[in-house]
Symmetry: C2
Subunit: 499 residues, 2 copies
């Protein structure tokens, strides 16, 4: 039965910038967690002198300026670094690392500081090496569909520049307004375009990286096919700044789609969501570019904490589908046919669809602003997991049941097309015991389901202690061996990835 | 002016299996090239005894049986191995390598033996470890679009099995009837689908690999997003069997297209070919799945040496375009519009287009049987390079001019969409001096154009001596270091990749 006729509606909701709830500051990570400082030297006056000689004004030591580099975006982790270095060139990065390596000074590489696993902030007093001034777009080749840029380019700026040349970045994230492309590559960031364009291992054509000892590794080709020896660059993708610091990136960029449609749909249960996914793959085929899902609690939280509202009323599950194609008429016809028959068969009970750019953006902001809503809720615990589609939301229900009133909100949303769920639990204040039992619960459930405990966020600080647990002996030993030969003094991003 | 009206023609040409021109055998590689045997032990009776206890009948020592394992597909390289091992399981591979490592016996891993750079045949008396009996397809998940299989699955068989489940393999090559998926991954094979589905770094979800010491590295996940530590599996992709032997592969598989169109077109010059490529990207967008180019000499050679004929007469350049999509009507409309306006604007002067499966296959065989034709010509020298699109065929003309009558045929064809040219030079007999000056010429030209001297074929034996030349110091040193820690006795595929 048709409950509502789906039409191209105007989207009635407003998007405001939510202001960061800075009332609370997290405790220092070193106090909150049972972690021992490594045998590094403490940054001292003579070190500062070297850095100031090299970078001049681009050395931050003022306490109030340091705060934003020491605290993570989700206000969960806090370091106590006393110095931030802001190099502009690969050569400066090389000199910094060579010096730090010789002087056994620990370094925390930082891009846009949008890690949600504590990967981009120091744990103790590591020197923060920020890529924020390394934001040159060096070369775009519109015919070949390639770009070379510095690691500190903000993803959204890069994408805007690419779109002027008829291209798009192969990766897109909610954090695009802040995150750096170097950080995206270092963490093998996934995001919403992965479904269509694949992961960064396939889209990074070349990298320039500085090793811990300051040596510059130049693998910065833009060739689509290049098999001339081991694929060294892939070693750095997803290594989270622990094997080297990425300074330049060469990317393969898809053609800017001529036609984009976005639909926001309501479904009565998860079974229907799954059927809608299957149907969208069949009906939309090669133009399907995103399939996102949100549960009712995610949208309720968003509506309560921000001024963004669901444009279609309340449903147990919401689906956001995006298509990107080259022919507006063909794409529109595919989308209409898909939506009509989804409504007719009750897979979907209500929805809105648009191809107007501002409305497309507004619909995307429903999905992308959920993390902003979460930040307003006091403390939040965020888990990024890959799960089999059949048990995708089981973990959300199980968490609710298991923890009852200990949690304020337990909700789930994510990239269903890639099997990637973001499980969120909010609480009024930080409770170490609760956090630990929650984490143990989520990790056990995920592993029981043969999922991944880190889909797209990486290990960072949060999951480093599980590295041994989630990798069998062979790969784990190889990781240790690689770290040993690449960074024998372990100065790069300590306390992250490795336990 | 319209020279010929392009219509959906029946394709009038016949495809016969060309029989292998086995009249000549290449000389032994060790005699032809200036290469010194490594300090390995010689396989002896007690080693054979061990292998026979482990594998029983699956140890090949008969001289006539050994021949096909010792000689490469292009009849260019020839080893003198006295033993071929045919394990069925990972455990057997593990025991073989552990034994060979302890006894310092060199090992040549071999899949379908379709390497064109001498990567899959021994140089001296290496023990050949063939994956030909490791051909189990272990698990296909049609909803997630994934497969797990053993490394020895022949690509075409795997693809046929996947198509029964509504999927296709993300890689496709001319050698698909012989090549093994393990070899494809080990060489990061490109092929014609790369344009659409990206390279194997993006499509390999997991690997199981046996290290030189017999240790099994299990990274065999099928998760689309999984960031739990370094991406160990990517180290083996493109390492050509020198870091470990791939025993199982997990792949991401695209949906089987519902509609496939193939057009075979004639162009008057390369400038028009390039314009046709640009136009095809714009008009065909997301359904474009291959863009291949062949010059007149390639097709002349094919017609002379096989029974395959061009279905459209003779032109300076031929283009093969494939589209793969989900909607027959939409795809047909896109293709028709593209072809009509390409004819109207004289980009293309004649052509044939079809969506009938047998005719699609017949058109593809024009492109894919060129190597068969080459094999009939006596000796051939094959170079696989990536070049900037603007100077793609320059190297073919330059080679013709430079070598004049020293060469019988100089022709070029390849994956223009990926900038990947196969340059072929044929001659009646092997001439060491000619070969050396030809190779030096091609490599210099390619590097002068900032191209890659190995696009999709790898370094193998042929290009190993250039590893140092084509990689800057940093990556080169890292390659040596990785080899040292992974295979300290250098038993795996010696004389390949490394000089």
């Amino acid at each position: 039965m048709l409950l509502n006729k789906l039409i191209r509606l105007p989207v009635f909701f407003c998007v405001k910038n939510v202001c960061r709830h800075m009332g609370h500051k997290p405790d220092f990570t070193m106090n909150n967690y049972n972690v021992e400082r490594g045998y590094y030297n403490y940054p001292q006056e003579q070190h500062l002198l070297f850095f100031k000689q090299l970078l001049g004004e681009r050395v931050v030591t003022d306490l109030s300026d340091l705060e934003k580099y020491n605290v993570d975006w989700f206000l969960t982790y806090r370091g106590s670094s006393s110095v931030v270095l802001r190099p502009k060139s690969t050569e400066e990065v090389s000199q910094i690392l060579e010096y730090c390596n010789k002087n056994k000074l620990a370094v925390c590489p930082q891009g846009g500081n949008t890690s949600v696993v504590g990967g981009s902030v120091p744990v103790f007093d590591e020197i923060i090496l920020s890529t924020e001034l390394m934001d040159d777009i060096i070369e775009i080749d519109p015919t070949a569909g390639t770009v070379i840029c510095q690691a500190g380019c903000i993803l959204e700026n890069l994408n805007n520049r690419l779109s002027e040349e008829g291209l798009i970045a192969p990766v897109d994230l909610g954090a695009k307004g802040s995150c750096h492309i170097g950080g995206n590559v270092a963490t093998n960031a996934g995001g919403k375009r992965l479904l269509r364009y694949g992961n960064l291992h396939g889209n990074v054509l070349g990298l320039e990286v500085v090793k811990a000892n300051g040596e510059i590794i130049d693998s910065l080709a833009t060739l689509k096919k290049n098999n001339t020896g081991f694929h060294i660059k892939n070693l750095f993708i997803g290594s989270e700044g622990t094997l080297g610091l990425i300074t330049k990136v060469a990317l393969l960029c898809p053609t800017l789609p001529k036609s984009v449609n976005v639909a926001f749909l309501g479904c009565q249960n998860y079974e229907r969501v799954l059927q809608t996914l299957k149907k969208s793959k069949e009906d939309l085929g090669e133009i399907l570019s995103a399939f996102e899902v949100m549960d009712a609690d995610s949208i309720d939280l968003l509506e309560r904490e921000t001024h963004i509202k669901s444009p279609i009323g309340k449903y147990p599950f919401y689906v956001l589908i995006e298509t990107s194609g080259s022919n507006e008429a063909h794409d529109g016809e595919k989308v209409s046919q898909f939506l009509d028959s989804s409504l007719e068969t009750d897979l979907v009970v209500n929805g809105t669809v648009t191809n107007e750019p501002t409305k497309v953006e507004a619909i995307w902001s429903i999905r992308e602003k959920i993390p902003d809503g979460i930040r307003q809720c006091g403390y939040s615990y965020s888990y990024d997991v890959t799960l089999p589609l059949t048990s995708f939301f089981q973990i959300v229900d199980d968490t609710k049941t298991h923890f009852g009133k200990q949690a304020d909100v337990v909700c789930g949303f994510g990239h269903l097309g890639d099997g990637n769920l973001h499980l969120i639990v909010t609480a009024h204040s930080y409770d170490k015991q609760f956090k630990e039992s929650l984490e143990a619960f989520v990790i056990k459930k995920t592993l029981d389901l043969r999922g991944s405990i880190s889909a797209e966020h990486g290990m960072g600080f949060q999951k480093a202690k599980y590295l041994n647990l989630v990798n069998s002996k062979g790969p784990f030993n190889m990781m240790k061996e690689l770290k040993r030969i690449m960074d024998p003094n372990r100065i790069l991003n300590p306390y992250k990835v490795f336990p």
